[in-house]
Assembly symmetry: C2
Homo-oligomer: 385 residues x 2
């Protein structure tokens, strides 16, 4: 019968993330597309020092097989960090993953299947859509207003296996759900028996004050919490984690064990060595100060150059502006022209699982300099006119 | 509805690999269970030097997002290494994975599904069984003799999606398929339209002369080849790769992208830096010399202590002895007693997908010293009498 991909393989798409990563490598291109941290923000010296300590003192652990759960001191660090933010998951409910993307993938593998419903915000993170889709699940939209999913409307999606939510500096919309709304969502979901998945890769990247406590802080046994060191330390290390309700930890661990045994020990030990004495506190202050300047530069450039009918909210954190243009604009059709003109962005349609509108786009402000942000937005605005 | 694992989650087992990794951490235990390389074999100084060069010269690449395919120079190195062994896969058909376990997992995700047939050797690698099983596939045995799967019998499994074979120093049986048999398997499989998956983590660990060219050398477009740096460099780095027929590369890449975006760049660059100038040639000579002593020590200990009715073949490479005891022996029931007496092994039943016989066991000779091998086999033999 020769090679026969299964029924689900056909549901995979050449993920837009991959196109973005390839575009980002085009020489001279001003990329406002990818959510790639500025390389200048990588703490190279601290990582070097950490590697040296790890390979001097712990090489037999760093280079050997480990347990599927993850490196115990790192699990304890994550548990304590979440507790400090108000979310209570003991270390033995923390699973170390290959970036938070793997947390999404494990949730798909355990909780979804053909015909299962999955509730999502609209728009939402494009690579989550790509990862959930091959499960054969059916996407259902959570009705939202400008403050996020509307609690009273959650009953419409009560038969979903879970609701996938990015409460803090949402990708792509930049939206932050308020503390009050978080509590209402959590309480309503609990009453409805609707489990929640809080994806929080951007929570530490705040520029106008600290965000509210995680959604997971209200009801950890009804909430999966996915986090990552990608945006605060280095995405090339691929270290994320998922904090799990006790009831489903074992299933996630079994699947993690089956898919790749465990996340690279060497990297887990390096990350732990870098963060264990509080390095992130000072490091993140610097990262926030840097990105705030970028955020403000993009806000200023949008005000200066964009057509009057373009609409956006200034995000209080994260990496992205979400710009909506008049109906009839087709940002997907514009992308190739824009790349030829020297600027890349992500068409808004990529962030919808079904019936994508075509008149929005996502701009990242973290990868390139404020000067390039100004130049890139100017080129883009001219093309839009 | 609260947390509802899907129909496949129930097919997962608490993998024996995880039990082994946990057992191995018991203080004072002589573990003949895990296939964990001796920590003394890790080239710590070379890895340290490589990390320093990577973080000095390539930190922006090592710490940033990369493409899902893997680090291009490493893909090229793997392609050249396979070509030198006779297997022809261009670099753009090499996908870097988190250990070769992830190659197995990707094959399961793309090629298997409910009711699909999967042909396996009996016994076979236990963690492959654990990874394939949740797909809902049906395992079918390839009839084997002492030289491996019997070509003329392959027609019995011709409707399988693929045949999973470990031709070189098979785990657990230690068997090596001859060059002639490899060619016959490959040709028959081609005629039948039966795709092959060659898993080859142990091929470099030969103690009595180099093994024949890979199964994949005969018909790469009909063969997936999985390889790994775990046994030759360090398993804690979790770097493996899969060489793919052109026809299915895109599907595997899509799934890799969905499950964790890409394998950690930092580690890929470190591995490439370590291997690029031929380090493995001298390093593997040392590793082989070390393990040959261990292999011989275990062979001697088995001859010295085992009951006369125990049967085994001395493996020409790899990590394991496969010992068969008289029918009626239940090695699974013996394990707890053995661990209390200070020695661990893996009961043979773990290596069967269906109807496991209970009278065999697998002993690893790579983790502990020759003296401990002698002591461990002695304890075990006394318990068996």
């Amino acid at each position: 019968m020769s090679w026969t991909p299964n029924a689900h393989a056909g549901l995979m798409e050449q993920a837009m993330t991959r196109k973005i990563l390839k575009m980002a490598a085009t020489p001279g291109l001003i990329s406002l597309a990818g959510g790639m941290p500025a390389p200048e923000s990588f703490p190279v010296d601290e990582i070097k020092a950490a590697v040296d300590r790890v390979l001097t003192d712990h090489s037999a652990t760093a280079l050997q097989y480990g347990v599927s759960d993850g490196y115990q001191p790192l699990r304890e660090w994550v548990s304590a960090d979440l507790a400090a933010k108000g979310a209570d998951y003991p270390p033995d409910q923390i699973l170390i993953t290959n970036g938070s993307q793997q947390a999404i993938s494990l949730a798909s593998g355990i909780l979804l299947e053909d015909g299962a419903k999955l509730a999502i915000e609209t728009p939402t993170y494009l690579a989550a859509i790509s990862t959930f889709r091959p499960s054969g699940c059916t996407f259902v939209d959570m009705p939202c207003d400008e403050d996020g999913p509307i609690p009273a409307e959650l009953r419409r999606v009560r038969d979903a296996r879970f609701a996938y939510i990015i409460p803090t500096f949402q990708n792509p919309a930049g939206r932050m759900i308020s503390a009050q709304r978080r509590q209402a969502i959590s309480e309503t979901a609990h009453e409805l028996g609707l489990p929640l998945f809080e994806d929080n890769p951007y929570g530490e990247l705040y520029y106008d004050g600290e965000p509210p406590a995680p959604l997971a802080s209200f009801d950890p046994e009804n909430t999966i919490y996915g986090g990552s060191f990608s945006k605060v330390l280095s995405p090339g290390m691929r270290i994320g984690y998922v904090a799990l309700p006790k009831k489903i930890y074992g299933d996630f661990l079994n699947l993690k064990s089956a898919v790749d045994v465990h996340t690279a020990n060497l990297i887990q030990l390096i990350v732990y060595e870098v963060v264990k004495d509080g390095f992130l506190t000072t490091h993140l202050d610097k990262v926030r100060a840097r990105y705030k300047v970028h955020r403000d530069a993009m806000d200023a450039a949008l005000k200066k150059y964009m057509p009057a009918d373009a609409v956006w909210e200034t995000p209080a954190g994260g990496m992205f502006f979400w710009v909506t243009l008049p109906e009839g604009t087709d940002t997907g059709a514009l992308l190739d022209t824009a790349v030829k003109a020297g600027v890349a962005f992500v068409p808004g349609e990529a962030f919808y699982a079904v019936d994508p509108p075509k008149n929005s786009l996502r701009l990242s402000f973290v990868t390139v300099s404020p000067e390039q942000i100004d130049a890139g937005v100017k080129i883009l605005a001219e093309l839009l006119r």
